[in-house]
Amino acid sequence: MYLDSGVLTAVKILVVGHFGVGKTTCIGSISEIEPLRTEEEITEASVGFDDLSGTPDKTTTTVAMDFGRLTISDEVVLYLFGTPGQERFKEMWEELSRGALGALVLVDPERLSDSFPVLDLVERFGLTYAIGVNHFEGTTDYPLAEIREALNLSERTPVVACDVRDQQSSAQALITLVHHLLSLLD
């Protein structure tokens, strides 16, 4: 359960996407621990304003977030945080994106439009990202170029097909992201 005693540096990569896209499956396929879950409270504006006070009503919601861990070397541990891609979680995004190496954005080729809000958030928080097109059983193979166009991605953004249930495939998607991050330093 404990980290190796020499581990000094913790880094994080966010695995983001809309509900049901396979974030937790992806994390579980490469984590060295069973994926864990944090419960956290977020406040959000509820519908309607209190006109007298001029402050919006706030309600508190509990959000569950799954994450995994991978010891990378004697000194470095990588945490993978599954991050829900809805606008109402932007409070959490503040903290999660701070210091993150980058984001792996999982998309479902059958539900591409659901990924627009996710991409908005990723870009707004200044995260460098790669796209993992999760292959779901029974879906046709979409050409990656069409997905790039549909998502209006820049030419530099890597797009890879993956099957998040498969360890090698998930790892390869992460490796693609890290290659991309390194290439931006050149």
């Binding site: 541990v77 990588l78 490796i175």
Partner: protein, 127 residues
């Protein structure tokens, strides 16, 4: 006697956050105890657990034998992340725990760390 240092001292004390003075239960700043901060119990922490709340004791027992991230502490204790942060801030101040905070963002995304991550992923998954 010189009055100037005295004036400086007054200025300094005014900048100390209130919760430090009051030892009250205020949420630590956003960037303190973020979820990748690593925490462990101090070696002699077990000697003075009586003053701690049951929740704080649970946290301390969990990290008695080694380092875990703040996120793992929250997950294993089933305490909300916000509560865990407050407890850890108090226990670091009282000397029960030590924390290894993440490197500030500007220094972090460097080639060395990225190469370590890349090599680690490749070694581990043979990709």
């Amino acid at each position: 006697m010189n009055d100037e240092p005295h004036e400086e001292l007054e200025l300094t004390s005014a900048l100390v956050p209130l919760f430090v003075i009051t030892n009250g239960r205020a949420l630590p700043p956003d960037n303190a105890y973020e979820r990748t901060t690593l925490v462990s119990a101090q070696q002699d922490a077990a000697a003075s657990v009586r003053a701690l709340s049951p929740e704080a004791r649970r946290v301390l027992e969990l990290v008695a034998e080694g380092f875990l991230s703040v996120a793992e502490v929250a997950a294993h204790t089933h305490l909300p992340l916000g509560i865990v942060r407050i407890l850890l801030a108090q226990m670091e101040e009282s000397g029960h725990i030590i924390a290894r905070k993440p490197v500030p963002p500007a220094e972090r995304v460097d080639r060395e760390v990225l190469n370590a991550v890349l090599d680690g992923l490749k070694a581990r998954f043979g990709a």
